[in-house]
Structures are given as C-alpha cells and as structure tokens.
Symmetry: C2
Subunit: 399 residues, 2 copies
Amino acid sequence: MVSHRRLAVADPAAPLTDGGFNPHARAVHIGTLTLENGAALPDVVMTYECWGELNDDASNAVLVEHALTGDSHVVGPVGPGQPTAGWWPGLIGPGAPLDTDELFVVAINVLGGCRGSTGPMSLAPDGRVWGGRFPHVSVRDQARAEARVADALGIAHFHTVIGGSFGGMRAAEWVATFPHRVQRALVVASCAAAGADQIAWGHTQVRAIEADPDFRGGGYLEQGVFPTSGLGLARQIAHTSYRSAHELQERFGRESQGADRTLDGGLFAVESYLEHHAAKLVARFDAMSYVRLTQAMATHDVGRGRGGIEPALRVFGVSSSSPRSTPIGCSRSVPPPTSSGLTGADGCVSSTRRTVTTVSSSKPTRSRRSCARSSPGRSRPRRAASVPWRDGGRSRHLG
Amino acid sequence: MVSHRRLAVADPAAPLTDGGFNPHARAVHIGTLTLENGAALPDVVMTYECWGELNDDASNAVLVEHALTGDSHVVGPVGPGQPTAGWWPGLIGPGAPLDTDELFVVAINVLGGCRGSTGPMSLAPDGRVWGGRFPHVSVRDQARAEARVADALGIAHFHTVIGGSFGGMRAAEWVATFPHRVQRALVVASCAAAGADQIAWGHTQVRAIEADPDFRGGGYLEQGVFPTSGLGLARQIAHTSYRSAHELQERFGRESQGADRTLDGGLFAVESYLEHHAAKLVARFDAMSYVRLTQAMATHDVGRGRGGIEPALRVFGVSSSSPRSTPIGCSRSVPPPTSSGLTGADGCVSSTRRTVTTVSSSKPTRSRRSCARSSPGRSRPRRAASVPWRDGGRSRHLG
C-alpha cells in the first residue's frame, strides 16, 4: 500500500501555471471562500484541466464534473502525478461527443478533494496540513468555488454542465445556484438531494475511516501514518452499495477465489474483488478527503434554503424534466434514489453503453483560450457517438 | 457499552437441566460434531426453549429458527440472562398461530452463536475460550446439530420448520438435509443459497470487526477487551443493507438529529438511528459469533454437493414452490436475492403485517414432554391470527 506518500501537499502559493499534481492541470487562486456553514476558507486554489479552445464570445464552454474518487483527468493516459487514466475515455476530443473542434471543455478538481484543489491535504494558514481541521464543505460551496474558476477563465455561462453520481450532484447544484450561467445540464445516475439511504451508506463509510486507529482524528499525515484499513473498508462498502444484487450475482455468483476453500474461511471471488478495489483506492486517494466529500454528498440538497427541490430547479427556468436538464439512470448500478427530485430519472436504459450525441456549438471564431493538448482546426464530421459510461465494476471513479 | 461482560462463558459440562444463559433454556449434549470442512467440534452443547406438550406419537413438533442476532427466546419478556424480549411476540401460545394447545414448539440457539449453544465464547478442550480458534461452521452443520437435539427430544420429524432471514437459511437446509424429517417449511425473506451481494455485505461486516484493534484475532475475551467499534459498524452496515432506500427515505428523509447542524458535521436522524442500533447490539452480542455466523451465511448453499439447488430441494419430494415449502418476501425490507432458488419468493405483500394462519395438528393425546410455561389443557378456538412480522426498523433480531 503506497497510500499518502504518493500524494504531495498542495502549495497555496503555487503560480497560475501548469503544475500541481498533474502536469497538465492548471491552478486558479480564487481567494477566500465563505462557506455555507459560515466558516471562511482562505487562499483557496482550484486546479483544472481543459481541452479545445474557448471561442470569442465564450459561448462554447462545457463543464465536466467528476465523481467522488475521480479527478479532472477525464480523458488521457496515466502519467507523472496522474495515477489513473481518464475515467471517461473517448468523451472529449476532435470528433468526440464533446467535440474539441467546437467546444472548450473544462474539468475542475473538486473543492475538498485530494487531486490539486484545496482540501484536507492542503496547508492551512498556520503552515500545517489541514487534515481533520479542514472545514465541512457542501456541494453548494463546491459549485460556488467552480464558478470562480469560470470567472477567472472568462466564462460567463456554460453551454453544458455534465456530471455523474457525485459529479451529477454538483451539476444539479450549478443549475440551482447559477440558473443563468447554465444552458443545459446532463445529470447522470445522481439526484437533486441525497436520500436517507445515501446518508446511511455514507455514515458507515465515514465511521469505517474514523475507527481506524491510524486516522488520528484526521491528523495521520503529520504523524506519518495512514488509515489504510479504514479507507479500504469504506471503499468496499461504497463499491457494494453501488452494485445491484443482480449484477454482482451475474459477475461473481458463488465462485470461490481460485483454489480458496470457502468452508475454511477462504475467499469468494466477490470478496477478492472488493479487496482489490480497496487496495487500489488506498494507493491513490486521501482518507480525510474521502470523509469530507462523503459528508458533502450527505448534505447535498439543491432545495436547502430555497423552499424545496422543485422551486430550486424552477429557478433554472424550466421544470426538472425539461430538455434543458437531462437526468439519466444507469441500469447496471443501483437506481437513483426515489428522492432524486429529478422526475426524468426513472428513464433507465438496458445497456451498459449509452449513446451520447455530440454536444454541438457554433464553431469558434477566434481562440480566446486554448488547451495545448487538443488539436484545434482539424475539423471532423459531427456525429452521434456511442461512448461507454464506464461500468462501475471496472471503473476506478464511480461514486 | 456493557459488551462481553454481560455474557457468561458456556460450560460444556452443564447438566441437561434448566440453565445456561436464559433460565428457561435447556441444554442438550450432542457429543462431537464432524463439520462439513472436516474439522471435529467436540463436546457440543445445544440450548433451546420450548412451549406446549409433545404428543404421544411426537407428531406435533414445530421448529422455529431464529435470525442472525436472535435466539431461542421467540416469545416472552426480558429477564435474568435474557437481555431481549421475544422477537416474534404473539407467535406462540394457547390460541396463537403456533397454538400450544396443540403444538410442541422448539426454538434452538444456533451452533456458533453466543446465546448458550456451543460457539466462540465456549470453552475449548484445552480449557480456554475458543475465541478466534472456533472452527468455521456451515448452515448445514447447524441444521445437523439441531437434528441431534430433535433426536434427544424424541422428535423423528417436524410438523413444520419455520424461519426468517438467517433462520430461513437453516429451515431451507433442514428441508434439503432431512427431507423425511420435515413435513412443511415456511421460509421467510430468505434464500436457498446466499447471493454474491449477501457475500459481499457479509465480507464488509467481517472486515469491520477484524479491523478493530481490540478484536485481537478473536482473542479479545481472554485479553479483557472487546471490539465494540468494529461490531457496531458491522451492525450499521447490516442494518442499512436490510432496509430499502424507499423505507429509509419514508422514515427518516433528510431530517437532522435534534438540533444537530448537519452542515457542520452534525448527525442526520438516520445516522443516529444506526448508532443507536449499533450500541444496542454491542451490549448484548459477541463479536466472534457475529463473524462465524456471517461466514456461515456466506457459505449457505443447499445445493452444495447435491448437484445444485433444484435437485437438493427435489429430495424434499416436491418442487421449491410447492405448498410444502412456502417462501415469503418482506415488502418493507430489501427483497430476497434473485438467486434465492425459491421460486415463490417473489410473492411479496404490501403490508408490514402478514396473516399467519394457525399451524394445526391433531390434539395431543398424552403428554410425552411438556414445557412448564405453556398452559396445556386450556382449549381455545382455532383461528387465523394476524401477527406482526417484526418490521426490521423496530426489530432487534433481523438478519
């Protein structure tokens, strides 16, 4: 288990250049953020990756929101500072559904995470790592931090905001908080407010991490330890809760792992699968970030302080089932909670692949901002592309 | 947390009299049991409670199988050595669905548990507590141990075997192992073989307990500690997995616990509910028993070594959906797994109460064995009674 040693501590004084965790990621200083709970989070740095060119009137920007253990690396290979390949390969690029011949695509590492944006691994004003002292942030806080990144990039409104699972929560919150800054939203396998079961599952995961004696109240980093066991168990709980009984049965049934004798306590294949995913996450993710992000998911409610979910989404100018906001369920994972508040969310499909049609825009007239890795100018025919929404069983970033 | 201090260590030398944990429970020495995995478990003691009188030809015996954290105390009050009231109040008694004017009802504490029958808290031949050294037992081993209790009581066959959840697994195993000793079986919210999701959930619970530094490889009792945190977390995982998202949402929604400010990390009501149930279980149940029983559930498969589930149940003389075996789902909890192998199991009902008709028998002609607490001789009209199948949200024994 490599755990935290692989993860550097973000430097709030980092310049607004390439840097941070992923050499392709860029950083924006957004100053002090006053959180929903009243706490002030100073010197916030947000990191992002982008593809394509922002056009002259900044009308072609798309925001892609990553899930719980994902990051800004939506597409692209593993590399230095980037332990995982892109979590939605084929989504972004010339001729891809998010066609960088036309669109400027931005993916921002979430506030409170551990992939470059300010979070529990960052330094607090006293020069020490935040750790367990990192304040509770909400999904609304996260969307507001992202809006400041958009401000810095000169993006007044997004052509489309798209996100799945935890990323879908932020997409929904964007719609409710900045209705005039979002033209379209695509919310996949997510909800407008966390349901009681999501809160319960999150609770067991947070408890698993907190109960690890190496958690040290979140102060493990300064003490040279890491709650490997607790974070691994949290991942196992999460992974099981994401999967339907039917899917697990289909994939693993009652098979034992190799020659293991289950009657003697040997592992079943599904147990080995959970252990494998636990080990993988522990090697690349921070435990305190996992706690704060899980807690953010629990408090997610676009209706808070807005008279409820329906009024909150009405501000977007349309009902929640309007074409402007497209909720999508995932047939291979557990369905979105009944409390999703996104009335179209029951429109599940039967395939593990879904067709995402090209999100089109007017072609860029003049480049205002470009991302070096895209290949601007190479015009390709627009097409409807079949893109795999990563089946969580094989995904590194679900949740 | 009172934990293990409340639980005495069973004495394998206890006489075949009232005694053990519950003064109403009785003990049977069944000798050495050779387990499915080949291990020999010596000096096995099984404890049970009973109600009513066994008739002359021993044709009126009913076996009630308890769930994971239940015990032989199906009905009756809290008392010395009995920390919980009966888990199915009203089920057994004169005029009740299991009418003790006619029936002799037996409930046996499961092998490997912590309520009197031999388990990890019992003494091993070396005079020390078994603890983590207690062998892996299977549901089939448990049914075979129970059959020896039936032998000792002079019961050649049961009029009915009834059980829910883990108790239903033992009922199903009775049917497959002793088809000629079971006339009818009632399997509630259970399955013929554990599905991959049940195995996965069990795995996370076992890991939660094992990861507690006070577990000490199962040797905590001798070291004067108890894995309170781990067992509590296991209970929270189990409790959440038993509940449907819909039920949790209906009961708790997004309510905070009292004046807790959830945006500052305060608890939601559903979190407090989980903590409450964890604390309750930890005060009365043994961690190593929880581990071994959870592992027994994972290996549950009536079809093992019998050519599969269908052939195994065919030995019962009928198909699995026959009137002789009645599988019932519970609408308020998650449905039985798709792999249940009990084809009638999808017959869920919409109420939290279900009608259990009287299980009738010929009246006892002469008493061969009686249980003092029943009131024999007081004949009451036979009736169909509406008996609550304890809603898990309020139940202490689900699972």
